[in-house]
């Protein structure tokens, strides 16, 4: 349920109604900032938000994202190292 898409806030379009232009890969749509308007709207310009049915539902936490990715990439690199070792081991097994 609940298709949510990361998009970047590029411009406040209506301060009073808390509306802003968001960009998703260059596609623009006006969204409501109401759910994330716990700070001055201007501070949201440039931020990435999670958009659902025309509302910015959350500001994406870049730091948390980086941490998650780091863990994931770590697993990937570890596996690559493992496989390289296995490959090396295998080639050692084979007569030259």
């Amino acid at each position: 349920m609940c298709l949510g898409i990361p998009g970047q806030i590029v411009e406040i379009t209506d301060e009073g109604r808390q509306m802003a232009m968001a960009s998703v890969s260059g596609v623009r749509r006006e969204v409501s900032l109401a759910p994330v308007a716990d700070r001055p709207l201007a501070a949201l310009v440039g931020e990435w938000v999670l958009i659902h049915v025309g509302f910015a539902m959350a500001v994406i936490d870049e730091h948390e994202a980086a941490e998650t990715l780091e863990a994931l990439r770590g697993l990937g690199e570890a596996q690559e190292a493992l496989e390289a070792m296995a490959e090396g081991a295998k080639s050692l097994e084979q007569p030259a």
Binding site: M1, C2, V24, S25, V27, R28, R29, E30, H52, V53
Partner: protein, 345 residues
């Protein structure tokens, strides 16, 4: 001959312009035949070409109705599509497109200036594609009985002797090639329609593929089959071809040429770009050994700059089309069900 004074009054089409009388004649003469310049005033074109008299040559005949909303959009208009689409339906069958008919169903109230723009656009595209619009018709319907203007074009071309492209020719091992980015038309129209309040720096890919097809056919003696992937997108075209050929097709997701904006539009609306409509997308199959020649020939044409191998035919499997994702998994690429609806979940 001195140009006749303009007898067409008013800015908009009224039912009077469809009644069969003088107002209709004036509309047809001043807006349509003044630009298309048919050979005679008779209601049928009378044509001959030596190409048809070559033994073994066949006549190709196709038709499509065009009903896009809005009728003008970034990168084109309904007139341009109506010419290119029918030229393409001829071209993908191996025919050299020659003659088009153009029939207009016009909503009462349609701006005459709009009609003039559409007609000019059609004339321009026809000239570029090397075809002539030789006969036509206009009807005017009551306000609310059609959506501004619908255009139906039919096309006649000649298939040279020996040319016999069809999907049944495709064999396992053949590679699938597209001529460029996918989904631009569908995404452009979604944005242009305005009701989803989305905007994107996109243009329809609407273009004629006749020259491109001739270039590939020249470069690839074993060209198997070609389709223009219009409604239903690449997915539907490949499903149809695979089913007709009795093969399966494996697509490579990473190889699909897609603009970021098209991906963005699809993410927002929960759509799949494989099903987005195109108006200038060619998909063809060639034996693997002719793939490079095909790519080179395509890239030499403006309409084939983004040519890429996107998959290959394999022995018939459980389903006609599958796709391997960059991520490693494989999924079925089914025919489109109904139409793609924007979704939230």
């Amino acid at each position: 001959m001195a140009s006749k004074p303009c007898r067409l009054r008013g800015d908009r089409v009224t039912l009077a312009h469809g009644g069969g009388g003088r107002a209709m004649r004036d509309l047809i003469e001043e807006v349509f035949t003044a630009v298309f310049k048919p050979d005679s005033g008779e209601d049928q074109a009378r044509l001959m070409t030596s190409a048809l008299q070559v033994p073994g040559a066949r006549l190709a005949f196709t038709t499509d109705s065009y009903v896009v909303t809005p009728v003008e959009f970034p990168g084109g208009d309904i007139g341009k599509i109506a010419v290119c689409g029918t030229v393409n339906d001829l071209a993908v069958g191996g025919a050299v497109p020659l003659w088009l008919s153009a029939s207009f169903i016009i909503e009462e109230g349609c701006e005459i200036a709009l009609l003039r723009r559409l007609v000019a656009s059609m004339a321009r595209e026809a000239e570029a594609a090397g075809v002539r619009i030789v006969t036509g018709d206009t009807k005017v319907v009551e306000k609310g009985s059609c959506d501004t203007v619908f255009i139906t074009t039919s096309g006649v071309g000649v298939i040279p002797p020996g040319c016999d492209l069809h999907a049944e020719n495709i064999r396992p091992g053949d590679v699938a090639i597209v001529n460029g980015v996918l989904g631009d038309h569908g995404a452009t129209i979604l944005a242009a329609r305005g009701d989803l309040a989305l905007s994107a720096p996109l243009e329809s890919d609407c273009r004629a593929l006749g020259h491109l097809m001739q270039a590939v056919a020249g470069a690839c003696p074993s060209l198997r089959a070609a389709r223009d992937a219009t409604r239903g997108g690449l997915a539907s075209a490949l499903n149809e071809m695979a089913e007709a050929a009795g093969v399966s097709v494996e697509l490579d997701e990473a190889a699909l040429p897609l603009r970021p904006e098209v991906k963005g539009m699809c993410e927002i609306l929960g759509l799949d770009p494989l099903y987005l409509a195109n108006e200038g997308a060619l998909v063809l199959f060639v034996p693997e050994e002719e793939a490079e020649a095909a790519l080179a020939a395509m890239r030499s044409d403006t309409a084939g700059q983004g040519a890429a191998v996107v998959g290959r035919a394999v022995d018939k499997g459980a389903v006609p089309v599958t796709m391997r994702s960059a991520f490693g998994g494989t999924r079925i690429v089914d025919m489109l069900v109904g139409e793609q609806l924007p979704r939230i979940c």
